[in-house]
Symmetry: C2
Subunit: 374 residues, 2 copies
DNA sequence: TTGAAAGCGCTACCAC
DNA sequence: GTGGTAGCGCTTTCAA
C-alpha cells in the first residue's frame, strides 16, 4: 500500500461558532434546543402548550380543519413547532404506519456510470414524492442480492427497484407474494410476473449491425460477455438476425464475465483481434467492452474507421471525445429513470388493489459518428 | 421528448412459480409464511412456543448464556426462528434504541465518477460493519443540503459523511452540537471543528506544475472553477507557488461554476485558448475541466504534447485511453473511502466520549503519461 | 431461569 | 373541538 495517513488529531479547535449567530442567541427556545441532547417530541409539545397529544398530531398532519380544531389552538401549536424546530420522527411513523417512505435501488454496480446516472435521476424524482432512496450494489451476485433483500425487508422499505442477478427469480417472486412493489430494470425475468422497464435491446442491436453492413463491412464481430441475461441475449439475437439477412461473415466473441472492478478483458480481446485479421466491423455489446476493445485495436494499429468500423451499445460521454468519435447506441437514461419511478409510485399507490405488472420497453437512439464513416 | 412508452400492461402472466419449489411445499410453516400478509413478530414466536417475549429477545440477541436461559428453550426458539424465517424489525429496534444503523453519504453528485467510486467502497465497508448507506446529491447547493440534513435527522441516521457545500458551516456545526458523528471529505471547513479526510491538494498541484516546468513549459495556464472551497484554493495555491519559484509566465483561468449536468464549459475554454496562443502547458484543476479542455485544444489543432503539454487533477480511466495518454494526479480512492469509514466508525463507537475530530490528509500520486513527454 | 411491563414517538379510533 | 389511549415491535429493568 503506497499510501499512509500522515496526520491525525490535530490540535483542538478553538473557534467559537456561536459568535457567528448572535441573532440566535436572542431566542431562548433555540438556545435551549441546541443545548438539549434529547430531541423534542410530540409529547413535549403537548405538555408545554397544555394541549393533548392528539391535538398536536392532528395539526401536524394537516387534519386540523377536518377535526375542527380551533384556529387559535392550531396557530399556537404551529408557532411553537416552528420555534423549537420540531420534526416528527420518521422512525416512529414507520413503526406506527408500517411504511418507511424508503425505496431501495439495487444496482449491479453503483460506481458504473450507467447505474450511477440512473441512480441520480431516480433519487431526484423520489425526493420530489417524499421518498428517499437507499442503494446498494449486487455485483450481479445472487447470494449478495438475496442477503440485501432480506435486510431491507427488515427496514420496512416500501419498494424495490432491482437489476436482477442470475438465479434471483425465487426471491423476486417471494417479494411480490409478500406484496412488496418491485420494478426490475436493465433486464427482466421471463419466469417471474413482475413489472420492468427496459430498452429495445434487440431492435437497437439489429439497427447497429445493419448500419455496419450498410457502411460496407463484410466480416463482422459481435463482442459480448458470457451471460444468459435477457439484455445480452436480446442484443445478440439482434446482431444475429441482421447478419442472417445479408451476405456477410460474422463472429461472436463471448468473454467470460469479468467483475467490473477487476482488470479488464483487454488481453483476451487483443488475442481475438490478432487471430481474426479479416474483421472489418465490430459491435461491442457494452461500452465497457468497447473501451477495452478500442485499446486492443489501437495496440494492433488497426485504424478506425478505415481498417475496421466500430459501434457500441451504451453511449458514453467519452465516445464523443475519443478520436475518432465512436458510434453508439444511447439508452434514454432520464426517461428510463422517470418511468421506473412512475411505475414504482403507481404500485405504491395501488398497494391494496393487488399487483398488476407494468412492462415498458423504451426505444434507444443510434448516434452515428466517425467510427462508422467511410 | 423523442421517446415514448410503447408497451404497457401486457397480458397477465400465468406461470406458477410454486412449481419450481416443491421442496418448500413440504414445509407447512413456510407455506404459512408465504401466505401470511403480516410478518411474524417476536410476540408471535413467544405465543407459538409458550415462552415469554423477553426470553425470545434474549436468545435473539445472543444473551441466552448471560441470562442463563436453558439450552432446551434456546434450541427450541432458535429452531423455530429459523423455520419461520424470522428477522427482527430494524424499525422497531431503531425506535427503541435510538439508533438506525444507517449512515448517510451526501455527495456533491452521485453520478460523478469520483463520488460514485467512493460511494461504492464506502458501501462495501459499511455493510461489513452492519451499517447501511443512504445517499444523496447536494448539487453543491446549500439549501438542498440543509433540507436533506433535516430529513435525515428525522430518520435517526447514525452519522453523516458529507462533501460540504458553500455556506453549510452552521448546519454542520449544529449537527456536531447535537452529537451526530460527522466526517467531511473532498474539502473541509476551516471554521468548523469537524473531522475530515482529504487529499494533499496543494502539494500535488505543486508537483504537477513543477513537472510541467521541468518538461520545458514557459507559459502555463491553470484552468479552474470559480470557487472558494478549500480543495480548489489549495490546488490554486500549489500552482501559484510552483510558478513563483521559477521563471515562467502563468495565467489562471477561472470558469464560473457549471452544474455538472449542464452543458460543459467547452466554449469558454475555446475562447481562452484562442486568445492565449503562447500557452504551452495547461494544468486542469479537475478531470471534468480537462475533458472539455482537451476537446477545445483538439478543435484548435494544438498538438499534445508537442504544442502544449497537459496535466489534470483527478485521474480517470479515460486519461489512459486518450491519445495521447494524459498525465494526471490520482487520488487514493480506496484508501480515502476506507479512512472515511474508519473515522466514522470510530466516532460511532465513541459517541458518549465526546467528539474529538480526526483530520486526515492523504497523499496522491502523479501518473506521468504521454501528454507531458517531450 | 423466566416473565411482566415500561416505554421509544407516533397515529387514529373512540369517547366526551 | 378536544383528549385518552391502544398499539406498532422491540429491549431491558426488575421482580419472581
Amino acid at each position: 500500500m503506497p499510501y499512509t495517513k500522515i496526520c491525525i488529531n490535530l490540535n483542538p479547535f478553538s473557534f467559537d461558532f456561536n459568535l457567528l449567530k448572535p441573532h440566535i442567541a436572542l431566542l431562548s427556545e433555540w438556545g435551549f434546543y441546541f443545548m438539549a441532547k434529547k430531541r423534542v417530541s410530540i409529547k413535549d409539545i403537548a405538555k408545554a402548550l397544555g394541549v393533548s397529544i392528539t391535538t398536536v398530531s392532528f395539526i401536524i398532519n394537516g387534519k386540523a380543519r377536518e377535526q375542527r380544531i380551533s384556529d387559535e389552538v392550531t396557530q399556537k401549536v404551529k408557532k411553537y413547532i416552528k420555534e423549537v424546530g420540531y420534526k416528527p420522527s420518521h422512525i416512529a411513523q414507520s413503526l406506527r404506519l408500517g411504511k418507511s417512505k424508503i425505496i431501495v435501488f439495487m444496482a449491479e454496480d453503483i460506481s458504473n456510470q450507467f447505474f450511477a446516472s440512473i441512480a441520480r435521476f431516480i433519487e431526484e424524482r423520489a425526493y420530489k414524492s417524499g421518498y428517499k432512496i437507499i442503494y446498494c450494489s449486487t455485483d450481479n451476485n445472487f447470494e449478495k442480492a438475496k442477503e440485501l433483500i432480506s435486510t431491507f425487508k427488515r427496514r420496512n422499505v416500501d419498494g424495490f427497484i432491482i437489476t436482477p442477478t442470475p438465479n434471483i427469480e425465487e426471491s423476486i417472486h417471494d417479494l411480490i407474494e409478500e406484496e412488496f412493489p418491485v420494478v426490475l430494470f436493465d433486464r427482466w425475468l421471463p419466469e417471474v410476473n413482475c413489472s420492468y422497464v427496459i430498452v429495445e435491446n434487440k431492435e437497437s442491436a439489429y439497427e447497429a449491425t445493419q448500419h455496419l453492413i450498410e457502411e460496407g463491412c463484410k466480416n463482422l464481430a459481435f463482442v459480448t460477455v458470457e451471460s444468459d441475461q435477457t439484455q445480452m441475449m436480446d442484443r445478440s439475437s439482434g446482431f444475429t438476425e441482421a447478419v442472417k439477412e445479408s451476405d456477410v461473415n460474422a463472429f461472436e466473441f463471448r468473454l467470460k464475465f469479468h467483475n467490473l472492478s477487476e482488470v479488464g478483458p483487454y488481453e483476451e480481446l487483443l488475442d481475438f483481434f490478432k487471430s481474426k485479421k479479416e474483421i472489418d466491423g465490430v459491435f461491442f455489446a457494452t461500452n465497457y467492452l468497447a473501451f477495452e476493445g478500442l485499446q486492443a485495436l489501437d495496440t494492433l494499429q488497426r485504424s478506425i474507421p478505415h481498417d475496421v468500423k466500430v459501434v457500441s451499445f451504451d453511449d458514453h460521454y467519452f465516445f464523443n471525445l475519443y478520436k475518432p468519435k465512436i458510434t453508439a447506441i444511447e439508452q434514454p437514461l432520464e426517461l428510463l429513470s422517470e418511468k421506473l419511478m412512475e411505475t414504482m409510485l403507481s404500485h405504491l399507490d395501488e398497494l391494496n388493489l393487488g399487483y398488476s405488472p407494468v412492462r415498458l420497453v423504451l426505444p434507444n437512439k443510434l448516434n452515428k459518428r466517425e467510427s462508422t464513416e467511410n
